[in-house]
């Protein structure tokens, strides 16, 4: 088993886990995590593909590396945005719950 196969399989496994998580995770936090796992798998496959490009006779293939870095940045932004929304949502929910309790007391 070469490194290409190993990384390829690992990428596929991550993609599988991520997809499973996105389908089955009950809450938003789980889905955010699953999205990151899925993204990680895709980036790993991207790297493997670059390795294959090198195997196909290119000296080295720097383009995917640049793209993967860009992709990681984008995915990071997405995660940050989603997490921010989630935090805000739980804060608002807590506020609503507190107001509700107050109303009950009075």
């Amino acid at each position: 088993m070469t490194g290409v196969h190993l990384f390829g399989l690992a990428g596929a496994a991550l993609v599988g886990c991520g997809v499973y998580g996105l389908l089955m995770a009950p809450g938003a936090l789980g889905r955010i995590l699953a999205f990151n796992i899925l993204g990680g798998g895709v980036f790993l496959i991207f790297g493997v593909v670059a390795r294959r490009g090198a195997g196909a006779g290119f000296g080295a293939d720097p383009v995917p590396q640049a793209l993967v870095i860009t992709g990681i940045v984008v995915a990071f932004c997405a995660t940050a945005l989603a997490a921010a929304l989630l935090v805000r949502l739980s804060a608002v929910d807590a506020e609503v719950a507190r107001d509700g309790e107050k109303e009950k007391e009075t």
Binding site: V19, L22, L23, M24, R31
Partner: protein
């Protein structure tokens, strides 16, 4: 039968040198004037002045109908739009009749709605419907016809639903629903019709010329017949008409029955090929028309309100028109369309005047209502074809088209039914008096229109049929015209003497049997909403996303990849 060479009944040869430009301008102005005024009504000053001039707005259309040479066409917008106006004999007859009805009914409406705070809105719908109705009779290219037809159909909603009672809302919604359905049927037909032509937006005449050889002849004809019959109110697509007429204000009913349903007539005349025998189609149309002619009478007789009785009479009369057109295309008889338009124009004026008389009677003391009922009865007898009235000329003309035999006899007998229904109508008018004297603003326009309706067919007869008017006064013709009316009057007397107790058929008759459709559509909507809630749950949607990707990949792989 001089359909194409029909001369204008008015001799305006002195204007000859200026004619082309003037005529072209007239046709454009006839449509543009009401349309422009409808938009100008946004300005308060115009809105205040409008009631005084509303009766004059149709004047250019009237002059156009009289003076514009037949066959003239104007290209208003050049290629690629090819927005074209043209006036042929059927168009001129209907345009002229419509403009007279719009004028008198316009004057009548302003008096009728004097106290109504919503009068400005009514005027805007009025002007829009008017513009659409003139355009329908004038346009010559397919796309503009669709536009004009949509304009007249949708604007008429504002007239029908003006009173905004629960019944009016129901009637208006039904009218809109059927109008949208009709538009869908027609656009499908028009697209099929036009796609045979080389131009994207062909002239109606060119497109229809290709119809007999079109690969889609059958679907086109089915869709066209359904679409226009819906507007004419043939059974079983007549359900909107009694509902809408019974709730609309009187002048609104007059133009709905008089003009708006004629959009369906002109549609059939424009989009069926004249002079080409279409036996099966003609028979179907003729049969449907004859059935409707009797059906309208039968249901109309049970009505207790004169406007609803008139609405069913319109259903019945449009059945007659359809039967004439059907008989004409059955044999490909030349001149059919002009005569059908003549009959329709006759009905337009008579029915308009009859509706206006109902309003006059309702504003009169019982004694004066009797006088109104006398005029109404005379109009009714004219509609039934009593000799020496204008209606008899129209009846004589349609007998030229419908062959002797089964359909001819049935058509003649339908005049007896018409007489019966008209007697019922006159009786209801006589009973509808309340108190007071009718304001002059109501009585004068109604009487003018009644006079025109009784006289004009004599003047037009020769131009339409090519026969001298005297043929209709021959003893045999008089006798032929007299016996159905006499039969009808006899039946009416019999019914008055010993009337069987028949409960009133509610307006919209068969519609009430279709209640299950409402239940079914509510069930469908409820089911769709429930299904939507399931589809929009995260796991379902996420799974659907994956499934689409897999499905697409599998389809591509198995169907296309081994190239």
């Amino acid at each position: 039968m001089t359909a194409d060479t029909l001369a204008p009944p008015l001799d305006l040869s002195a204007l000859e040198p200026a004619m082309p430009i003037l005529s072209e301008a007239l046709m454009v102005v006839a449509i543009a004037l009401p349309l422009a005024l409808a938009f100008a009504a946004l300005v308060p000053a115009v809105r205040r002045a409008l009631p005084h001039v509303l009766a004059l707005v149709p004047l250019p259309a009237l002059i156009a109908a009289l003076a514009v040479p037949r066959g003239l066409s104007v290209l208003v917008a050049p290629y690629p739009f090819r927005f074209t106006l043209a006036l042929d004999a059927p168009g001129a007859l209907l345009l002229g009749g419509a403009s007279l009805l719009w004028m008198t009914a316009g004057a009548y409406a302003m008096a009728y709605l004097r106290q109504d705070p919503a009068r400005p809105a009514f005027m805007v719908w009025w002007l829009l419907t008017m513009a659409g109705s003139f355009a329908v009779f004038l346009v010559a290219d397919v796309a503009s016809f669709y536009l004009a037809y949509a304009l007249v159909s949708f604007s008429a909603y504002g007239l029908a639903a003006h009173d905004d009672t629960p019944q009016a809302r129901r009637a208006g919604s039904l009218y809109l629903a059927l109008t949208v359905l009709g538009e869908a049927l027609l656009i499908a037909a028009f697209v099929m019709l036009a796609s045979g032509a080389t131009d994207a937006n062909p002239q109606i005449r060119d497109a229809v010329a290709l119809l007999p050889t079109s690969p889609w002849k059958t679907p086109i004809l089915v869709l066209i017949l359904l679409g226009f019959i819906l507007k004419m109110g043939l059974f079983p697509l007549h359900v909107w008409m009694p509902l809408a007429h019974s709730v609309a204000p009187v002048p609104g009913s007059a133009v709905l029955s008089g003009v708006v349903v004629k959009a369906g007539v002109i549609g059939l005349l424009r989009f069926l090929p004249e002079g080409v025998p279409l036996p099966g189609w003609g028979a179907v149309l003729c049969g449907a028309g004859l059935f409707t002619a009797y059906y309208g009478v039968a249901v109309g007789l049970t009505q207790t309100h004169p406007k609803r009785a008139l609405a069913y009479s319109t259903v019945s009369q449009m059945g007659v028109v359809a039967a004439v057109i059907g008989a004409g295309i059955l044999n490909g008889t030349a001149g059919t369309f002009t005569i059908a338009a003549f009959y329709a124009a006759n009905h337009m004026l008579l029915k308009g005047a009859m509706f206006l008389m109902v309003g006059v009677a309702m504003a009169s003391s019982p004694r004066r209502a009797l006088a109104a009922a006398a005029v109404a009865g005379l109009l009714g007898l004219s509609l039934a074809g009593l000799p020496l009235t204008g209606g008899a000329m129209a009846k004589y003309a349609i007998k030229l088209i419908v062959p002797e035999g089964m359909s001819g006899v049935l058509l003649t007998l339908s005049a007896a039914g018409s007489t019966l229904l008209m007697a019922r109508y006159a009786l209801l008018v006589a009973r509808s008096g309340t108190e007071g004297t009718p304001p002059r603003g109501l009585a004068v326009p109604a009487l003018i229109l009644a006079g025109l309706a009784l006289v004009l067919p004599f003047l037009l007869f020769e131009a339409v049929t090519g026969l001298p008017a005297a043929v209709a006064f021959a003893p045999s013709a008089l006798q032929k015209g007299l016996w159905p009316v006499a039969l009808g009057l006899g039946l009416a007397a019999l019914l008055a003497w010993r009337a069987p107790r028949v409960p009133e058929v509610p307006a919209g008759d068969i519609l009430n049997a279709l209640g299950f459709l409402g239940t079914a559509s509510r069930a469908i909507m409820g089911g769709a909403v429930a299904a939507d809630a399931v589809l929009r749950r995260w796991p379902v949607a996420a799974f659907a996303l994956l499934a689409i990707a897999v499905l697409l990949a599998a389809t591509l792989t198995f169907a296309a990849v081994p190239l």
